[in-house]
């Protein structure tokens, strides 16, 4: 009788929670005529998922050589690259190759200095206005938490990068816009950023469009969730602990209640 009561009391929260969330999701997705996202296999999926460091490092190369021409990543520091397996010397070398504004010199003129691991990622433009001016009026969004800021997350970013084509016959494109079947409204200001062979990977991996898109998406997912590896590991431990605690607490409850009729 007791477990029979336990069931509705705890199934109901799950029911309400899942119900509300499931109902909310289609509402957001249904607005534009974009095909459903195809779920890709990601190394960081699932309870035990962790970032594939090799993919993320290749993604960093794509970000650095392609995306960072227009997109900032203001929340990231160069030291954060330790999270995808770069060692201290590699991080120092990576940062030192990038010049950032330094202190004013004796005559008050601005100077430049090599970046340090403690520096934020350098932004391509000094401010939003300059970014708009250089991009036909459209502001390239900051990519620090972009993966968390788009419905569909990594699958959406991957699909978008692969979603460019010529517009279907009869579609009227606005000036300076590009056709992308996954972008809401199908007209995106960003020209196709990746075509395949845009970078020469340090580790020799062939840089097909799909490979580049997959790698840079992995890197963007890392940038948005640098705590993910630790979070998943903590979650596994917490769940095991709480299942054990629930079990023995329930056993004790049974013992204490054994004499009550």
């Amino acid at each position: 009788m007791r477990p029979a009561i336990l069931l509705p009391a705890f199934v109901l929260p799950a029911f309400v929670l899942i119900g509300a969330a499931l109902l909310a999701v289609p509402a957001r997705a249904q607005e534009s005529e974009t095909p459903p996202l195809v779920h890709q296999h990601w190394s960081f999926d699932g309870v035990f998922g962790t970032f594939d460091n090799a993919a993320a490092q290749r993604g960093l190369q794509v970000y650095q050589q392609v995306c960072s021409a227009c997109h900032s990543m203001k929340q990231m520091y160069y030291r954060n690259l330790a999270g995808i397996g770069l060692n201290e010397d590699q991080i120092k070398a990576f940062a030192a190759a990038i010049l950032v504004p330094g202190p004013a010199d004796e005559s008050g003129q601005p100077t430049q200095r090599p970046a340090l691991p403690s520096d934020h990622f350098k932004s391509p433009f000094p401010n939003d206005e300059a970014a708009r001016a250089a991009n036909g009026g459209a502001l390239p969004p900051d990519q620090s938490v972009l993966e968390k800021a788009r419905e569909g997350g990594p699958d959406y970013i991957y699909a978008l990068l692969n979603g460019y084509s010529d517009p279907p016959a009869g579609m009227k494109m606005q000036q300076g816009m590009n056709y992308n079947r996954y972008f809401p409204g199908n007209q995106i200001a960003m020209p196709q950023p990746l075509h395949g062979n845009d970078v020469t990977y340090v580790d020799g991996t062939p840089s097909s469009l799909e490979q580049e898109a997959h790698d840079v998406t992995t890197f963007l997912a890392f940038a948005a969730n640098p705590e993910l590896n630790e979070r998943h590991a903590t979650g596994v431990k917490a769940v095991l602990f709480l299942v054990f605690l629930t079990g023995i607490t329930y056993a004790l409850k049974r013992k204490i209640w054994a004499d009550v009729h």
Binding site: L12, P13, V16, A21, A27, V47, N80, R150, W257, V260
Partner: protein
């Protein structure tokens, strides 16, 4: 001396304190030996779970406030700094963020339990009304907390909700300007919301104290909805209900941990990871899931003031519920018709949630209006009449003897009768 308390505690230190300030005696009386109906089911866990949720929210909130900056130029970045640079900041922030959802889940189930088992009926009307006050305070706290990360949903949610007050005739626009401290949601708004978001949880603690005090005056309701008649009907709170609540707390924390560690953003909205931009409204402004049914009611009324009134009315109607339900029987178990209608109300609320999540177009408008109408119909029309028309099942004689007493008015009390139904 007249004022000193005669303490029974053997430990000299506890005895010394208890003689001068009998808090140990009080704890022993209210949480040790406190006579509690012996037939609680697990729905009676949810009050304790709400207290746990409140405590976790206050503690994590205090540590978040140590690193949060309530300024429009820095709020978003300071939250990201918590997520990235503060030791375990991601954990504390995700626990707090998902904690709002967890808090509302347990409180909604707690309210459902009160409705289903008639916990609002005499003599617990005031206990119930204090509970409704707690719900309103929680909603205000949750709303202002959601503004603090200063993402797109924070900003536009704040704009939409504060604009509700502009529906008030004559003084409405003045009130909205006063709430904002300016002519739009801006830095003064964020600052005061942070201040109030920090204050209100402690107001909740105070009102919660009244809620519990009122509970301990009337004693708890129980699944049978009948009064405690003898000591055989009760058990001391400790250890029976401390351990039973502990089981619930463990399961509750388990669900919370899964949310935080594996799907921390599942219940949130992606647009709140884009910094607030007063120049661009997101494609669809929707509140957090726990406000969706109220949002649906708001949008179902094709009149601004009407919608706002109905939305607030949907909660205020709870204040008069004890007087609109005319049935003398508390528990749904003995009200065959009302029990069905109770589930219809749950379905109605869930449907309203779905309506709130969808753009107000086509069929959703119709569903929204039907559900809104039914919601008020339930409380204001069905309940008063049903209490008079419905023929309740015979009530058991007592909690400890869950047999149906005197069916037809003639049988002796101890006669074998149909056992009570399984809960």
């Amino acid at each position: 001396m007249a004022g000193l308390h005669k303490s029974d505690f053997a430990n000299p230190v506890i005895n010394w304190i208890d003689t001068r300030l009998p808090i140990f005696t009080m704890m022993q009386k209210e949480y040790g030996t406190f006579p509690t109906p012996k037939n609680f089911n697990y729905f009676w866990n949810f009050g304790a779970l709400a207290v746990v949720a409140l405590m976790v929210m206050i503690v994590t909130g205090i540590f978040l406030a140590m690193n949060y900056t309530p300024n429009v130029t820095m709020a978003f970045d300071s939250v990201e700094r918590i997520m990235r640079d503060v030791n375990y900041g991601w954990l504390i922030r995700y626990v707090h963020m998902n904690g709002a959802s967890m808090f509302f889940i347990v409180v909604y189930i707690h309210i459902f339990r009160g409705l289903y088992y008639g916990s609002y009926k005499t003599p617990r009307e005031l206990l119930w009304m204090i509970g409704v006050v707690l719900l309103l305070l929680m909603m205000a706290t949750a709303f202002m907390g959601y503004v603090l990360p200063w993402g797109q949903m924070s900003y536009w949610g704040a704009t939409v909700i504060t604009n509700l007050f502009s529906a008030i005739p004559v003084v409405g626009p003045g009130i909205v300007t006063w709430l904002w401290g300016g002519f739009s949601v801006d830095n003064p708004t964020l600052n005061r919301f942070f201040s109030l978001h920090y204050l209100l949880p402690f107001v909740i603690v105070g009102v919660l104290f009244l809620h519990v005090a009122a509970l301990h005056i009337t004693g708890s309701n129980n699944p049978l909805g009948i009064d405690v008649k003898s000591p055989q009907d009760t058990l001391p709170f400790h250890p029976y209900y401390t351990i039973k609540d502990s089981v619930g707390v463990c399961v509750f924390l388990l669900v919370w941990a899964v949310l935080v560690c594996f799907v921390p953003n599942y219940l949130g909205h992606v647009d709140n990871y884009t910094p607030a931009n007063p120049m661009a409204t997101p494609a669809d402004v929707v509140p957090e899931w726990y406000f969706l049914p109220f949002y649906a009611i708001l949008r179902s009324v094709p009149n601004k003031l009407g919608g706002v009134s109905m939305m607030f009315g949907s909660i205020l109607v709870m204040f008069v519920l004890p007087w609109f339900d005319t049935s003398p029987v508390r528990s749904c178990r003995f009200r065959p018709i009302y029990r069905q209608l109770m589930w219809v109300l749950v379905a109605d609320a869930l449907l309203l949630g779905a309506v709130g999540a969808h753009p107000p177009q086509g069929i959703w408008v119709v569903i929204g209006r039907v559900c809104t109408a039914y919601y008020f119909l339930h409380f204001l029309v069905i309940l008063p009449f049903l209490g008079k028309l419905e023929r309740p099942l015979p009530l058991p004689e007592s909690i400890s003897r869950p047999v149906i007493a005197g069916g037809g008015g003639g049988l002796p009390g101890g006669a074998p009768a149909k056992p009570m139904e399984k809960p």
